[in-house]
Amino acid sequence: MLLVFHDCIVIGAGLAGMRAAIEAARSGLDVAVVTKIYPVRSHSVAAQGGINAALGKTDSWEAHMFDTVKGSDYLGDQDAIEVMCRQAPSDILELEKMGAVFSRSAEGMIAQRPFGGAGYPRTCYLADRTGHGMLHVMYEQLLKHGIFIYDEWHVLKLVVEDGEVRGVVALELDTGKLHRLHSKAVIVATGGYGRVYRTTTNALSSTGDGMGLALDAGLPLMDMEFVQFHPTVLPRTGILMTEGARGEGGFLLNSKGERFMEKYAPSVKELASRDVVSRAEQTEIEEGRGVDGCVLLDLRHLGAEKIKSRLSQIRGLAMDFAGVDPVVSPVPVKPGAHYSMGGIAVDKDGQTALPGLFAAGESACVSVHGANRLGGNSLLETIVFGRRAGASVARYCEATEAKPFPDSALKDACHSVAMVLKRSGGESIYAIRKEMNDAMEDFCGIFRNSVRLKKGYEKIRELRERYKKAALTDKSECFNNELLGYFELGQMLDISECILLGAMNREESRGSHSRTDFPKRDDEKWLRHTLVYKENGEFRLDYRNVSITKFKPQERKY
């Protein structure tokens, strides 16, 4: 049971976490990352399409900002969006300096492809493996900077004393031992929670851990009702077909062979923002113009050459997981849970309301995505706000003395692990998880209404009670996956309840949150952020104003 001190502990080693760690280390801090899977396994690796930056001569950060604000359905904080769009080009160049190689245009410049909701081709990419390329570069830099990696350690608890962060308690999966990591500051960068849904593009490890930790530390989660459903996901497995497929010119067809997006977004068609396309698909499917619960992504007209060079990964995925070669046949796709616009409420520097606690990436909510994120903006968010969080941690650590790690923290964690392992005769966590997935998918999906949401809410409340009595089969200390699954499920049930509460209360339709009983956006009442707090095991809602600087809200049409 180690007690180790580092100036800064980063939880999660995806793009945001590693970028933050590198920035903090560059300032001379002793930094360690704690991650339940090895850094290169993090789900940033699966990002396919690309990363946005206004690099083109006739493009501008203002245009990028406008597209992002509009994409967010005006719920994004414009001061934060401005920071992101202004700093995007230099962060891209910084990535190349680190070693990243983006695909090239014929002239040898960084190539850019069109993406949904963007008025300009501004998405930089590495074929259809952009996240993979970036994540491996970030891992290289992590090693270069000598940052310590606690890999396959799962954080159970943020340790808070006298209103400040003092570190974390983590479970070493290999041995089942609990360790104390003492620090001045902690950065949460644990990514999304896609696994609360049944059909999701997210990894099996995307269980929203850090959001749960923050809730337990008394911090609010913001805008959790905004869940992005990606329009092109393989059925059954939920595996992603990049938006780049449409960016390169792919069509969406219904059972009659019609390019139905002409009806829903006459000017940009398939390249409308994701919420618009997903709703259109869902409508086609529900109105009987689907193909076995899907629509068709048709790439055939792009030709074998382009598909093989620009979209080779998704071609492989379609063949392996759907048995379809996009060169010869259209690929059946449907919407699936993809990204969390909401997360731990932070400011532009990643600071939460708790001194010493920072957050970045998908687990944080700055908010730059508002009610709907544009494709290519999530990778951008990770590197811009990861870097900024790292820099602000450096400032914080310089001004702060390390204070002692409280003795009780470890004892509490040991006790809770022992209790779980001791309990017997209870229900399986997998049964509970399955019912949670079904409830979220069926009652809190693309189209919502008060009846469905209430059903979902009641179901999750019931599951939270059952969870308290769940028992494990695996009692061993070494690599106990079931124990890890138990903790993940607890976090996901909390998160599900936050999503449902926010969604039930928000009586309007905005971005990804679409209420059939309140189909209009209502700026007067709802142009504000939702905050959910967990207090004594119960959840409480609050609201906060949106920062509006350059662009006044207007009707959103594509």
Binding site: V40, V45, A46, Q141, A203, G316, L317, F321, S476, N481
Partner: protein, 322 residues
């Protein structure tokens, strides 16, 4: 369709000094189901104690490599039914060449250490850093950039099976990622280190890494590229490079391989003496090759012409690079 999965189990927490054993599970497999999906089904419905790594389940995170029916595979993009149809069974074990931790989980620490040892990050010099990455330059490192570090190649590596100190294909492919990058400023230093013992010259060219890599990295191809670059950089004072030089010389001179001369040129006089006892036995069986009496092929001048022309082209390319 019911399929029997035979899975290697091992838990160090079992009392005494537990030995690995095979456990059978019957799984209802549907069309398209992957091996990883079946493992998840087993752990969720039959036996939650079964340990294995997994994450993205779409062949990009590299977590779920295991030995399936004898060879290392990513389990997430391997479908059960075609595999069973081909191999007749479904046996899943942990990756070879790695120490099992529990069930199908192996200790990857030596794998990461090997990666770390090649200084896996760009080291631009004041001049190299601003070299433009053209589409052509990108193409050169494209395969090596596809690596997901799943460990399949190392698990299948014949040399690593014998010599745990061998750098092994994953790290060597990663090394090419930087040696082949026009922006790197430490190429010669990297190649010198890779030319040391247990380095790139210890590859036996068994082609297992390239055959089984699930991402088309072709580690062997990258090893060949490293070797070529090292020789072009003049790093010749090692057995591997000398062996290749001797071969290239022999083909240019005779059009044939001159085994005896190659041994002599590679090892030098003193070390070649050590081969004498075996040499005497081979001589008795008429197997001892005699150096420098190899017959020339017909039209050897064509071969020499090709050497000359290829040498000219290589020289031009080098110049262009500078």
């Amino acid at each position: 369709m019911k399929i029997e999965f035979r899975i290697k189990r091992y838990n160090p927490d079992d009392g005494g000094s537990p030995e690995p054993y095979l456990q059978a599970y019957m799984v209802d497999v549907t069309e398209g189901m992957t091996v990883l999906e079946a493992l998840l089904k087993i752990s969720e419905e039959q036996d939650p104690t079964l340990a294995f790594r997994k994450s993205c389940r779409s062949a990009i995170c590299g977590s779920c490599a295991m030995t399936v029916n004898g060879t290392a595979r990513l389990t997430c993009n391997l479908q059960v039914l075609p595999e069973v149809e081909k191999m007749g069974s479904m046996t899943i074990e942990p990756l070879h060449n790695h120490r099992p931790v529990k069930d199908l989980v192996v200790d990857m620490t030596p794998f990461w250490n090997k990666i770390e040892k090649i200084s896996p990050y760009l080291m631009p010099s004041s001049t190299s850093g601003s070299n433009a990455v053209t589409a052509e330059a990108e193409e050169l490192i494209d395969q090596s950039q596809r690596c997901v570090m799943c460990g399949v190649c190392n698990a299948e590596c014949s040399s690593l099976e014998i010599d745990e100190r061998y750098a092994a294909p994953a790290a060597l492919a990663k090394a090419w990622r930087f040696v082949g990058d026009v922006r790197d400023g430490s190429v010669v230093k990297r190649l010198e280190r890779l030319s040391e013992e247990h380095g790139m010259w210890d590859c036996v060219r068994c082609v297992r890494c390239t055959q089984y890599c699930p991402k088309g990295v072709s580690p062997l191809k990258q090893i060949e590229r490293l070797r070529s670059e090292a020789m072009k950089a003049g790093i010749l004072d090692n057995h591997g490079a000398k062996h290749v030089e001797a071969m290239a010389g022999s083909v240019e001179k005779f059009g044939r391989l001159d085994e005896a001369a190659m041994t002599f040129k590679t090892l030098g006089f003193l070390k070649s003496l050590g081969k004498i006892p075996l040499g005497i036995r081979m001589e008795l069986h008429g197997k001892m090759p005699h150096p420098y009496i190899v017959a020339q092929i017909e039209a050897i001048e064509e071969v020499r012409e090709i050497y000359k022309e290829a040498g000219k082209k290589a020289g031009l390319k080098e110049k262009k690079k500078e």
